[in-house]
Symmetry: C2
Subunit: 161 residues, 2 copies
Amino acid sequence: MIRAYDPADWPEVWAVLEPVFRAGETFPHDPAIGSDAARQAWVETAAATFVATDTNGAIVATYYLRPNQPCLGAHVANAGYVVAEAARGRGVGHALCRHSQEEALRRGFTAMQFNLVVATNAAGVAAWTSNGFRSIGRLPGAFRHPRLGEVDALVMFKTLA
Amino acid sequence: MIRAYDPADWPEVWAVLEPVFRAGETFPHDPAIGSDAARQAWVETAAATFVATDTNGAIVATYYLRPNQPCLGAHVANAGYVVAEAARGRGVGHALCRHSQEEALRRGFTAMQFNLVVATNAAGVAAWTSNGFRSIGRLPGAFRHPRLGEVDALVMFKTLA
């Protein structure tokens, strides 16, 4: 089940996000980021945040949606997705990505763009590709991976409407 | 002469920016943007802002510099440049671009990226290309041009160090 984020969800959402931010392998945020700054980035500066819950109602994944640019570029959405490690490999990320595209269309966005898809994040690249996104270009060394050093990042794009 | 922005410069900087933002052909900001929101975008959310002055000390151009992404992507700078219409065609944009690259290196950035170079902005694309930037990809219809409708935008990138 995917539903809109409620402020009371934050502790559970943070528990999903924290290990991913701490690992620093897929999002550019400071791996030492605190709960408040993470909420600022994931919820407060987003147009909308959603959560996916399991059959017990526990939050297992989350995504945000926002305009990628101001006014004259605001028809292109940006989104970010995190699935809790224990819930991976079950299609949750695909479900979030499909949901985000429908939600984006409903809100009047006509395209979606990911600005910094870490090239070493093979699962992410495969998931967005199978959802119809294509890499429009490669940014050389644009991401400082904690284990691998400077790695390339892809800009991925999909026209929705 | 290119020097650091001083808060007392704002009225002159806004006079340079305003016609460009109003035209809406090169920056994504709302063409109806007000002075306060423009200062927020050009000065307050930047790491640094610079101005170019003519021989009388009047401000004829300006640029901002900032990290393009948070922490793990913060080694890539982003910049934006505006030259007053009356000062165009005299190499001021090139001088700003060269200055911004030196300033970026001085501040520890190792690359520079432009996220939304409007493809119909031929003068801009030519200027950044001649400064060593290359288009790493094309975003279909990512900019709503007030006269031309949805036009493509380029992502341009240069490794500095």
